[in-house]
Symmetry: C2
Subunit: 214 residues, 2 copies
């Protein structure tokens, strides 16, 4: 029963995702869907990114959360446009929610939209939002076994941001093992080792984000 | 559509949860359902707990994960019984999965069963497993805004374990704010500040776990 209904929900989601993808392509907007556990540092990464790139490219952020507008407020404080979607307890964003949010952004002038998904390393990976790039964030504090335990999120990503790299010296976290495990699932994965807090490694990410694309 | 089906799924889950609760009561077993984000340290807490209390009480662990038997293997290495449930990608444990696992444990001799749920701070909070105690683990590395952003998990808990307290000095994490936010949701919440890695604060948790109950 559950599987049948999920198939219906997923099929409906795919229709909206296809429409979003077409819209982004037509408007020459790079859309990134950012997925991670709660507290891996997505919002801090996006705050620092917004500040660093806002004079080079036009960017907007769609924030997904169960409740509160806290994250959108943090982005707005950087001077970059942000819109909050409150899922009211639902564990992931849907493509339909993105479709219904796009009109709130001045999409004519945008180069990049980053969608910060609900903090959850399981459910969001099943829901295509129409993005071109899927980025997964893993904090070093979460442990180095996460690629093996949550393989879908890593297998479907284009980019892996290993965040809180400044904490590695206080943790038992083997960066090489994580990179090896991640590339076993996904050999083309682009990996950045960063600390959004100290900005270590962030320039590589900023440059990759703003480089000209076909 | 989704809500209607979810109601059916939840109603079915409630039936199994009620049966589990009856079974635990009849057999005088304290059942604890442990919930958290990925990487908050549930398995390390349970490893240290198993070692510390195994000569005082009879304990068994049910491990929930999407894939792999890694966590059960870590517990078994302590000499405490552990059984793994692999959910094959599903984002939470169900009461039915617990019902179907109990026969693998020698329940006649058990005092405590701890269920380590799938690493996910959203979905498991909707699924009663028939437990008497719900424990939520929050790692300091996840940030001090989590009670506000994921209120259901904290509102429904009996115990909050604030883990990785040894990392606080390297982080912007306000312990007092978290305790205040958590108690706003849930005034009777029992809170332990611990580090499973250094064992700081763990004795309070061990004592609470092993104290005689009505």
């Amino acid at each position: 029963m559950k599987i049948k209904v999920n198939k219906k929900i997923l099929a409906k989601n795919e229709d909206f995702a296809a429409a979003n993808r077409k819209f982004f392509k037509k408007n020459n907007i790079l859309c990134i869907n950012m997925i991670s556990s709660p507290g891996s540092g997505k919002t801090t990464i996006l705050e620092k990114t917004a500040k660093a790139v806002k004079n080079k490219i036009n960017m907007a952020i769609i924030e997904g959360d169960l409740y509160t507008k806290l994250d959108a407020e943090r982005i707005l404080a950087t001077g970059v446009k942000a819109v909050q979607i409150e899922t009211k307890g639902s564990c992931h964003l849907t493509a339909e929610q993105i479709t219904n949010t796009l009109h709130k952004l001045d999409t004519d002038s945008l180069d990049i939209i980053v969608i910060e998904n609900v903090g959850n390393l399981v459910c969001p990976s099943d829901f295509d939002l129409g993005e071109e790039i899927r980025a997964v964030v893993l904090s070093t504090a979460e442990g180095d076994d996460k690629c093996r335990k949550y393989p879908n999120s890593f297998a479907q990503a284009d980019v892996l941001l290993i965040n809180k790299i400044d904490l590695v010296k206080h943790l038992d976290f083997d960066v090489k093992k994580v990179k090896r495990d991640a590339r076993k699932l996904n050999k083309d994965l682009k990996i950045f080792e960063i600390s959004a807090k100290t900005t270590q490694g962030m320039n590589g990410w900023f440059n990759w984000l703003t480089e000209p694309r076909q």
